[in-house]
Symmetry: C2
Subunit: 233 residues, 2 copies
DNA sequence: ATCTTATTATGCTGAATAACACACAAAAAT
DNA sequence: ATTTTTGTGTGTTATTCAGCATAATAAGAT
């Protein structure tokens, strides 16, 4: 982890963040209580068991959050993008982290210290309500994933993961390429399958003309068909 | 659903509920804004797609909350007990319900209307913070379950479910019998397996002396062994 | 009381998918 | 540049578990 000059004010002022409900004064207060850190691709941002130090805002880069299961097998539970929070579940649950966060690309993350976050939340009910709404949505998403990962077949699980990645990160300028470049192993860990089966099923999708593959670059050629595969299970 | 005279003041005054952080005045306000309903065993309390009307407090009885997956297959995502909330995820996410709640026993549920709940939450930061903490814990639990249900083998999943039921509902006076009586189908839907396999695996556990079965009454005879089965996967 | 339906129990078969083995390509380290 | 490591692709085998059938029992309905 390297220190670097980075301006997190952008995060706090970002119109897409939950901070829009804050008063200028409250924003100012937060801006005086954060530090920034730079993480190289592949670096661990926090590990299962670590104590959360504050509210981490992902300012740049992409992050995977996963849990270690049976025999060290990874299950990705969340994919974070800028501008978004990471590690906030443990912070608000007053627990140590129960998952590990790893940078998928070079990342910049800003930490607002815990006391400052809590103070602003107590002073601004709108912020609390936004956080509650975020948690409630995230919990719904988690329940959905549980059902998908346990009930759908490999093809359905992979199709849903690809759609999820597209919805989360969007397309490149070509309007086809999913704007994230994951290893086959990560795709597998997101979709609850072995790496071999992720590779095989991606190839099959490509043969069927649903997607095209160029290394880690995945282009969705036939979204309706991909959605049908996802629905069918 | 039958109306019945029931005193929900007990719920709001219950020392185990999140309402302990409220002032007497706020409690009084909530007590003036709730209605109670009675549900017979097997009755639906709310269904996937329904609009949440308020914050439901389960005052008496036990409730299963499940989602319908591929081919109508149920996945139980939560088991509620008194005094606890039900249907609060959708309420706070400002969505329709994404799961169905069914009474496992005769139940009494009190509904505090949405506006009143939100008003008190805006006036009392402690309450909001408690709700946030609850959501954060629940989300952690959901992530745990996802990993368990996808990665552990049948025996591990069933063992974990039995431990979960014991932790949630406790023992009968004998200190052995799990204080909930589920059908084999519900046990299966909690553990992501077919009814046949739930029956089979329960029998195996009984043969091995880990539990004993008497109809729907399950007694845990060897908790350490059950925990070991759960850990191993 | 008796009929009907739901639940529990058990065996058999087949499909889905994990596990393993190996080859090859690409990237990183020396 | 060359060695080592990491990632990708493909075939084969083994295992787990779902699906189905059938019977016995228990619970509800008429």
């Amino acid at each position: 982890m390297h220190e670097r000059t980075y301006n997190a004010d952008d995060c706090i002022d970002n119109p897409k963040s939950v901070f829009t409900v804050l008063t200028p004064k409250e924003k100012e207060f937060l801006k005086q209580n954060y530090t920034c850190a730079f993480y190289k691709k592949g670096e661990i941002i926090f590990k299962e068991g670590d104590k959360p130090l504050g509210l981490m805002i992902l300012a740049e880069g992409k992050v995977k959050i996963f849990k270690e299961g049976v025999g060290g097998r990874e299950q990705i539970v969340r994919m974070a993008k800028p501008v978004g929070f990471i590690g906030y579940r443990a912070l608000f649950a007053e627990e140590n982290h129960t998952a590990t966060a790893v940078a998928i690309e070079d990342c910049v993350s800003c930490i607002v210290d815990k006391d400052s976050v809590f103070r602003v939340m107590r002073s601004n009910a709108d912020l609390s309500m936004s956080v509650i709404q975020s948690f409630a949505s995230e919990l719904g998403f988690s329940h959905d994933r549980t059902v998908t990962l346990t009930q759908k077949h490999i093809r359905g699980r992979l199709a849903e993961s690809l759609i999820f990645l597209k919805d989360t990160y969007g397309y490149e300028d070509d309007g086809l390429t999913i704007k994230i470049y994951l290893s086959r192993e990560d795709v597998a860990n997101l979709s609850n399958m072995t790496t071999s089966n992720a590779i095989r099923t991606l190839s099959t999708f490509a043969q069927e003309g649903v997607i095209s593959i160029d290394g880690r670059k995945i282009r969705i050629l036939d979204l309706p068909k991909l959605e049908r595969i996802s629905e069918l299970g």
